[in-house]
Symmetry: C2
Subunit: 757 residues, 2 copies
């Protein structure tokens, strides 16, 4: 199957182009460049022209409207670091632009086997000459610091004058849109030039951030068709550098310009300039090799990761697209995480949320465990900042991970919907456990995982307390931001219970292998403390309403009136943009899966009847205004046997960014939903569960699908699950035999085991 996403003869307007900038961005987990037009756009166009490095940020003020004690008053913001995309082209002196009605045969392609985006079109000059133009871009997965832009030009029917100006500009600003609360509103210049060199046609710019004092260097070198080489000149002005070619394009001749860009920053390299020049030197002139490496890398990726769906619609391609975007977004060096918008745009300022642990890590743990390990490693590296955060919030022990961050420090402005989301601790703990259960990576557990589990568990002990014999957790905010600062949020309590339980288990695991003493001493853990964890987990209050037979989202949720959905006009969604928070808080209305999410993560936490009743109850109340919702409803529906609903929620999730269903994909992709759409199949339709007692499946398939299949790694083995309308099979592709559960029955998997649905 060719993994190509292609758009043809698309409209050329602001909205379409903003969306394409996102959909056709090129990234490799470190470096991301939006799919902006090389030739630029008129100034009045709303465009987000951006280059981003994962984890590269500055710190900007975030004044509180009222100063309360220990509120966050500054935040990390992902920086737009340099514009090296620009290539202005003139044919017979006429400036090439897509906007003047002279462009035809428009086509934009994302080739997910090649790892390349392409934009091609035909353009005619005023005198009627026909020009073929093609741009190809790549962010190398193998050489993370390298980006290339290949530009090919051909005039079909005549000779034609040709002028090219290719720029690199260091002093760029972030995108800002004061009208939209979901993107940054800071457009101050935060980068200050430190180095500016132009030597032998290589332009080197280094800038430093204002507060975080991080440096970024971009080095650009142009490779040209032989005949062009002598006619090129270089010019530098005000921290930008331009390579100019002036000559002609002979009839039928193809001219090629390749821009090699090396990007380095001081978080990864001691001397960014030196490193950038070195990377550039290694790659310059090797475009074909770079392309080849890229394809090989992706071949291996798809081999491990591909989730293949056969349906009558384009769900299969959409799934491939989502998986590819996750690969583009995930940091792989342990000093950065995965931004909620990946590296595709500035929405949410490049912050990392729980999206990573709950929505993206499952995909990574199943297919690319070393990447999952990097993500968990990033959190471990920020443990001290999480400890400081806990102290700021008045806790005497434990760590509290930030709700949103780049550097690891809390960057939430409105704490009731930010810092108060203590479940982030449970989410990270959950991911630690799931990674361990999927990979059996005991070394990780011993080195980092157990420490995270203990320190997060400690926080629960400090934030919660016993009341009438139950362990209660007051004044926190669950995943559903339409209700803030509540008592005993079901999801939070369930995840705290899991966290506490696993802190004890981790200690036992290490103890069993004689590796507990070091950590025990270092963290000062007593057996009484572990006992306390276990007791609190046992006594954890999980709200249950006898009358309705459901789990209330929190202590007071059911005492509120149900939102008047009937009289809420369609244009008032998402509600958060149209109603004061207090108005939302005061109603039974959910932005997203909350209690329902707990049913997915903590399999078997309630009886099927309770889960079914709750599912149906919350379904009526949930607006899915968050992109993190539909996938979870799909998974839980599938597990409850509500196949049609599962299929329907899957449909709402799978194409979300491709069709811009949230209206803001222009600001960046929704990585959590992409991970979520993967999970709808693996954890939903295929019914995969992973617990201490092993891995299990309970496959089903939507009525309108022909088949789906995927491969996962589990405890050093490779498994392939294939499901079609006739049967479902699980195969052991490599590794030792093991027992798995199929629909709850233990089955020995040696070579090939098949079950019929």
């Amino acid at each position: 199957m060719k993994k190509i996403y292609r758009l043809k003869d698309f409209p050329i307007d602001e909205k379409a182009l903003m969306l394409q900038e996102t959909l056709f961005h090129n990234a490799n987990g470190y470096l991301g460049v939006r799919g902006n037009l090389e030739e630029g756009l008129p100034q009045e166009f709303n465009t987000m022209r951006g280059t981003y490095l994962n984890g590269f940020y500055d710190v900007i003020p975030m004044k509180q409207s009222e100063s309360l004690c220990n509120l966050v008053e500054e935040k990390d913001t992902m920086l737009n670091v340099a514009d090296f995309q620009s290539i202005e082209i003139f044919f017979d002196g006429e400036r090439f632009s897509m906007l003047d009605g002279r462009a035809e045969q428009l086509c934009r392609t994302l080739d997910m086997d090649a790892g390349i985006t392409e934009r091609s079109l035909a353009w005619h000059t005023n005198s009627g000459k026909h020009i073929q133009i093609c741009f190809r871009r790549m962010a190398s997965f193998v050489r993370k610091n390298m980006f290339t832009i290949e530009c090919r030009l051909k005039c079909l029917d005549a000779d034609c004058g040709l002028d090219i100006h290719s720029h690199q500009k260091a002093l760029v600003r972030n995108y800002s849109n004061p009208a939209d609360p979901r993107v940054g509103q800071n457009n101050k210049l935060l980068l200050h030039p430190t180095v500016h060199l132009l030597e032998n046609g290589t332009s080197v710019l280094e800038c430093e951030t204002t507060v975080s004092s991080l440096k970024v260097c971009t080095a650009v070198q142009h490779e040209l068709s032989r005949k062009m080489r002598e006619s090129i000149s270089y010019d530098e002005i005000e921290h930008s550098c331009t390579a100019s070619y002036s000559g002609s394009l002979k009839k039928g001749e193809e001219l090629r310009l390749v821009k090699y860009i090396a990007v380095c920053d001081s978080r990864r390299e001691a001397e960014p300039v030196k490193a950038a020049l070195s990377y550039l030197g290694e790659s310059f002139g090797e475009l074909d090799e770079l392309y080849e490496e890229q394809a090989e890398y992706l071949e291996s990726f798809w081999e491990r990761s591909l989730l293949h769906i056969e349906t009558d619609d384009d769900s299969g391609l959409a799934m491939v697209f989502n998986q590819y975007q996750l690969l583009q977004s995930v940091g792989s060096d342990g000093i950065c995480g995965t931004a909620s918008k990946g590296l595709s745009g500035e929405g949410y300022e490049g912050h990392y949320f729980w999206d990573t642990e709950i929505y993206i890590l499952p995909f990574l743990s199943c297919t690319n465990p070393e990447l999952a390990r990097c993500q968990l490693g990033y959190r471990y590296a920020t443990l001290e900042l999480a400890r400081e955060n806990a102290k700021l919030l008045g806790h005497k022990k434990g760590v509290l991970f930030p709700w949103r961050t780049v550097s690891g420090r809390e960057c939430s402005g409105f704490f009731p919907a930010g810092s108060a989301q203590y479940h982030i601790n449970g989410d990270i703990a959950y991911a630690v456990v799931q990674y361990y259960l999927m990979t059996g990576d005991f070394e990780y557990m011993a080195k980092e995982g157990a420490e995270i589990l203990i320190e997060t568990a400690r926080l629960w002990m400090d934030v919660g307390n016993y009341s009438k014999g139950k362990f209660v957790i007051n004044d926190v905010t669950g995943p559903d931001e339409y209700t803030c600062i509540v008592n005993n949020n079901y999801y939070t309590n369930a995840s705290a219970k899991y966290n506490l339980t696993w802190a004890v288990k981790a200690a036992r695991l290490l103890s069993d292998r004689g590796m507990w003493q070091e950590l025990e001493a270092r963290l000062g853990v007593s057996s009484e403390e572990l006992e306390g964890f276990g007791k609190a987990a046992e006594a954890m209050l999980l709200p249950y309403d006898e009358a309705l037979g459901i789990n209330p989202q929190d202590d007071s949720f059911l005492s509120k009136p149900i939102w008047d959905f009937e009289n809420t006009p369609k244009e008032n969604y998402p509600l958060l943009l149209h109603y004061h928070p207090l108005c939302l808080y005061r109603h039974q209305v959910c932005k997203q899966a909350d209690t329902v999410l707990a049913y997915f993560l903590f399999d078997g936490i309630e009886s099927r009847e309770t889960m079914l009743s709750s599912f149906e109850y919350y379904e009526k109340l949930t607006t899915h205004d968050s992109s993190l919702s539909n996938c979870v409803f799909s998974i839980v529906a599938a597990r409850l046997g509500l196949k049609d609903k599962a299929r329907s929620y899957f449909g709402d999730s799978i194409r979300s960014d491709l069709v811009n269903s949230y209206g803001n994909t222009g600001d960046g992709i929704h990585t959590a939903n992409m991970g979520g759409s993967y999970m709808t199949i693996v954890y939903g339709f295929a019914g995969m569960t992973v617990t201490e007692s092993g891995i299990g499946f309970a496959p089903s398939i939507p009525d309108d699908w022909r088949s789906y299949s995927f491969r996962i790694g589990y405890m050093g083995r490779s498994l392939e699950i294939s499901v079609n309308t006739e049967k479902a099979s699980v195969r052991l592709l490599s590794g030792e035999a093991l027992d798995i559960r199929l629909f709850g029955q233990l089955v020995r998997l040696n070579d090939k085991t098949e079950v019929s649905i």
Copy 2:
């Protein structure tokens, strides 16, 4: 009894002077001038040099750290309007200053019979000449636009060279202190000059605000001792004007300079400049008459208002001080309210809170009902803004008064501790009822009061809902800001119940007099709606805990751990400056009286046992970090017969500003506490209650007091209550005979009724 507060030989340092600026400010409910030193202070001194007009404000941006729907993003701020205090004096060319160690016999006096402040001292020149210096200031209660500064100089032992420069400066800024969240942090120049005249020695400056487009004019004219008149010259530069005298001071001769200042603004006068000149013209040269009027005004005020206490300490004087400050603070024109700091400083930016209705109006309703009426009139005038505020918060009907404001629009930055304090509606409704019950002013009820009661009641119907047969109110914040966004805050529900009940009663009252139809039609009130009010009031949930026999502050209050008071160091109070809000929210700890306040306002709402248990419970949890707390604990203690506690809380309240017990009196007085200290006696020790069935008393007296007495107006009558250690008496000073309750027994009050304690 002479009502003079005097400070002698005080220290001259920043803290002392800031405090004196507040304590010796002169105000008349319209115009307030801080007691700054005429001769100025060195630039590095922290001083709040200010002139304020009640209700004169500009609108400044208040950016939210995260933009949520309909949050407040700008706020009113009371402006510092002009500096006309400055008088620089040179003796033999040496600049007079209190700071150079040459000042002696320092004395500052607030004469509350005369309505004048005085600062007098002796100063010696380097050559040893002894100068007597005296400044007197007055903000006229009779001519609200007039302020005077009288300066008298005498050299006792020699002739002395004398130079005086008296300034008026229009372009002033507000005080700012970025380190203190309780004062403003805006120091932009918000006033822009529109008129600048200097004619016949009269300096006229008019300025306009930036956003609110209000104009203020200050006109200054100097009256001089005869011999000085010829040696005076005037100079203007950059929107400031200086009158300069150069001459000499003969041995033993007293020279006098009087500065007459007229202040007018465009909220009250169509042409402020014209009006200011007219006021100035009427008063110029009439200082003695102004002084006389002032004394007469105060004589009448004290006649009506004086609460006289005889004790061994200075409680009596402190009470007089508090009453005087209230008079200085209360707006009397119906277009302004009473700022929490009066007109004495910029703390809380000159905003009006519930302080007015719950803490200050009782004093006014008892003694100066026309002022009470003005305050209620201000709220009525802002009804439309309150309706808009309700809409912004998502309510379909009713009005929601702003938690803090000048203009009437909501100015809370952090809504969980601001807009969410819905009890403001109940507080205003309560004040409407109490004013009516005290005065019998039916005309007010018909014209304004009933409408407020109906519209506030409507909001409760929209914010609350039925749950399990009870009317519940979710997601509001009660008076205690150490717990935010709670369900069924006892105080809020109690005040909503009262509000709803009285909306029905008001309708019936008007109906009984045939005056309901107009309002009924205008507001579209149906009998079903009124029935709904009654039903909701009846079904109102008032939390009660069987086990403890107390009223929990809200639904979940008791499930939280009690604050660790034992391990909280003294320097960590007030807690709000040392702990993150979430940390406070999650504990049983109260900033101030909350449930206990309900016991005072809604007399008889619970059984004595419940109130006693609750009182004792909350007493242990309350830090009194708010200045609104001690007085309430005193009142309720007195009513519960806990005499020693009542006395002790009274002691914590009565001298609060005089001894700067909250450490921030430098930013302004605490008017609510001042009203509260009045109430501790009238409503506390004297046990006054006013209900539909009449007025009652249950007098007691602290063991260490000799006597107390006060006069109040009630339903057109004047009553005097005198209590000493032997007996308590209630006398009817004027008006028709009436029945009153004494310790619950009906007594006919004709001429004089006495009861023994």
